[in-house]
């Protein structure tokens, strides 16, 4: 297309006349359609086919009274075809500042939005707003249109705005006018075209596999363990025997003298809902005599102790017949183990004795409880205490204590 040069005598014509004798003729530019400056578009959401707020900003190039602003979305820089699937029908004008940019004073209520042409917004203000031009120093408009559904390009039949695969940069033609009723070349003040980009989202993902590690550790004789002091009970202030991860050997037990032993438990898990460690004895009795199966040691029930209401234990078992509460074994867990009512020193509860074995639905008593993951560095101590009275038959007693760990993901 041929571009015709237009020229006219501008304000410099006075100079021309005065200097006409020199033969100099002056020319100047027709002042229509100067370039808006610092123009840009911002989208609150850049994903295709997603509702978004579009903000358009520009600085006036020419000082004039602006009565209309036209925004034309297009799939080419200078065309009038809207990008595919762009939906402007629900858009509303929510912000318009004629100066000061995004922090300017909002006057959007003074402007009327015409969105009757899909992909085109015409903003009019019959009173007009006097603006100061100057390009980089001109008044900075900031306009926000909310509720626009972004165009979409992920269809084989859609002509994209550009050649990128996972994004699309389209155009918004911006023009300012001196008239709110007529928008053409005679009322055009400034213009510019900006791009805006929509892009597919990037999905970030990762899987964290479940982990569960359970460790039973030995505790040496003489240990006084943090979180579980052994106050003087007349019988013991610390463990009397060294355990291993798989055995607790109390050795010889003297009538009316308690003995203590411990094991340390550590659990590492990323179970979101935490876990419980349960303890129980499996078999007919907690501990059973090897010489006679009728010889046994029962769970501690002194002062009506239960697991949920553990009690201090300072006296002999209360039974008055052999193997009927003549010997007790009690269990406690350390106060850091998260089990209710064991935050009191020296209290014990009766262990579960499950004659049905380890695999029953009765898991035993919770000796460690956590509502969330455990990094595995904490040690929880389970203390076993045994004491017999004079009715307890002499024998070697054995039993099997098991731990069940149940993680909840």
């Amino acid at each position: 297309m041929n571009q015709t040069v237009r020229k006219f005598i501008s304000s410099a014509i006075t100079v021309t006349t005065a200097l006409g004798m020199t033969g100099v003729s002056l020319v100047a530019q027709v002042a229509h359609g100067a370039q808006l400056n610092s123009a840009f578009a911002q989208l609150s959401v850049i994903r295709p086919a997603t509702t978004s707020n579009h903000s358009i900003s520009f600085k006036l190039a020419t000082s004039n009274t602006v009565k209309a602003i036209k925004l034309v979305y297009s799939n080419t820089a200078s065309g009038t075809t809207s990008p595919a699937h762009l939906d402007t029908s629900a858009a509303t004008l929510t912000f318009l500042a004629e100066s000061g940019g995004s922090t300017g004073t909002d006057h959007h209520n003074a402007w009327t939005l015409d969105k009757s042409t899909p992909g085109t917004f015409l903003l009019t203000n019959s009173s007009g707003v006097s603006g100061t031009g100057g390009g980089p120093t001109g008044d900075q408009y900031y306009i926000t249109l909310s509720g626009i559904t972004n165009n979409d390009f992920d269809f084989s039949s859609v002509a994209k705005c550009d050649a990128a695969t996972d994004s699309d940069s389209c155009w918004i033609q911006i023009k300012t006018y001196t008239s709110d009723t007529t928008q053409d070349s005679t009322t055009l003040i400034d213009q510019s075209t900006v791009t805006y980009t929509i892009a597919k989202a990037v999905t970030v993902s990762a899987t964290v596999d479940p982990i569960l590690k359970f460790t039973v550790s030995a505790v040496n004789a003489g240990s006084i363990v943090a979180n579980d002091t052994f106050a003087a009970q007349g019988d013991a202030t610390a463990t009397q025997t060294t355990s291993t991860s798989t055995s607790i050997s109390f050795g010889d037990v003297t009538v009316s003298k308690a003995k203590l032993a411990q094991q340390g438990l550590q659990i590492q898990t990323n179970a979101n809902n935490g876990y419980n460690v349960y303890q129980k004895f499996i078999g007919t009795d907690a501990l059973t005599g090897s010489a006679s199966a009728t010889n046994n040691i029962d769970p501690f029930t002194g002062t009506s102790a239960t697991w949920s209401s553990p009690k201090a234990w300072t006296a002999d078992p209360t039974g008055t017949a052999a193997s009927v509460d003549s010997g007790w074994i009690g269990v406690r867990t350390s106060s850091n183990a998260g089990v209710a009512n064991f935050n009191v020193n020296d209290v014990y509860g009766p262990p579960v004795v499950d004659g049905a074995g380890a695999g029953t639905t009765n898991p035993g008593n919770a000796v460690v409880h956590s509502a969330g993951p455990d990094i595995g560095t904490n040690v929880y101590y389970v203390t076993y205490k045994i004491r017999v009275n004079a009715f307890q038959p002499a024998d070697t007693y054995t039993g099997t204590s098991v731990y069940n760990v149940v993680a909840s993901y």
Binding site: S38, D166, A206, Q268
Partner: protein, 363 residues
């Protein structure tokens, strides 16, 4: 091409000054006259367009013998520097009006922007008021900012001086300058590309492959980071540059609970003060027990002048990952490497999140 664009004709202030100065000189001083009217038609004003026909039209002010007509394209009015991207070597003498057939073109000085027409029969008389047009075909237009390097729009004004001489370039008859404006349509292409595992960028070797739309960290082992890289290329002629921001729509969240990854939170790590990657330091689940962060290779982003192996937090706050103060017509490449890691407290689950890249070009 910008339809109906007006070709700017600029009166040059320097010329004004020269005129004013001339008025103080004695009237005996020889003064070249201006053509009037004087204009130029350009078949396509798109910057860098090839095969363009320039047709100056000028009406002589002085009755004189004329032996040479000069067309001098320059970056400034009256200057002698050819716009760098303007291609004149392929032009020829096209259709003319107001001239006889004895004029021939001399391209000897095209590299300086000067095209000469000389009259083969010696000087010929041309009366004042003669309207002359000369078609100069097959010219390549200058690029934006070839003439005004400081132009902050997608337009640029270059200049043509036409001079008639009564001899071979010594004695001026008439002479005028005219400005013509070229323009360029705005464009922006934003491209995200996959990067394969084992690729080292900015001192970090990716441990898994990405795609343009996925960052899949696979199964994370406790205290073992995974790094995934994407290549981002921005190509634009936006004269005031651009910024690209990355942000999570929501925190990286587990499928079956509200467990989340935290933004990379090594000591003193912010987006403007990135730090070396370290294992997550949280001592309770969902609070720095899992981290997502990113390294960017663009040293132009605030705080990233030394970027090697450093990471900043990725969150729902948009973070500038690359920028430019001006156009990038050949494309600027930036690599962004995401780091993902959990410690033993991060609840097991499948985690997903959505990262958006927000592109803002400034025209």
């Amino acid at each position: 091409m910008v339809p109906n664009a007006f070709i700017r004709i600029r009166k040059i202030s320097s010329l004004l000054l020269a005129v004013i100065f001339a008025t103080s000189l004695p009237f005996s001083t020889v003064q070249a006259a201006d053509f009037s009217p004087f204009g130029i038609s350009i078949s396509d004003t798109t910057a860098k367009q090839t095969g363009v026909t320039y047709t100056p039209n000028f009406t002589t002010a002085t009755t004189s013998l004329v032996q040479e007509i000069d067309f001098d394209f320059s970056t400034t009015s009256g200057g002698s520097t050819r716009p760098a991207g303007m291609g004149l070597s392929g032009t020829s003498l096209g259709a003319t009006t107001g001239l006889d057939n004895a004029w021939v073109m001399d391209l000897t000085h095209y590299s300086t922007g000067l095209i000469k027409l000389t009259h083969t029969g010696g000087a010929t008389s041309i009366p004042s008021g003669t309207a002359i047009t000369v078609a100069l075909p097959n010219i390549t237009n200058p690029a934006i900012r070839d003439c005004d390097a400081g132009s902050t729009t997608l337009t640029d004004t270059c200049y043509l001086r036409v001079t008639t001489y009564s001899d071979l370039g010594s004695t001026t008859v008439d002479s005028s300058n005219i400005g013509f404006t070229l323009s360029e349509d705005p464009y922006m292409v934003f491209k995200v590309e996959a990067v394969s595992s084992g690729t080292t960028t900015d001192g970090i070797t990716s441990t898994l492959s990405s795609t343009p739309t996925t960052i899949d960290g696979g199964t994370l082992l406790q205290d073992t980071p995974q790094y995934l890289t994407q290549k981002i290329t921005v190509t634009t002629n936006a004269p005031n540059g651009y910024s690209v921001y990355a942000y999570l729509e929501n925190p990286l969240t587990s499928d079956n609970s509200s467990s989340i990854f935290s933004p990379f939170g090594a000591t003193n790590a912010t987006w403007s003060t990135p730090q070396l990657w370290t294992d997550p330091t949280g001592s309770v689940a969902n609070s720095n027990s899992g981290w997502i962060g990113a390294n960017i290779s663009d040293t132009g982003v605030t705080g990233w002048s030394t970027t090697s192996q450093l990471f900043g937090p990725i969150s729902t706050t948009p973070r500038e990952i690359t920028n430019s103060a001006g156009a990038q017509p050949t494309g600027k490449v930036t690599y962004i490497t995401y780091g993902l890691e959990v410690n033993k407290l991060q609840p097991s689950d499948r985690y997903t999140g959505i990262i958006n890249y927000r592109v803002e070009a400034r025209y």
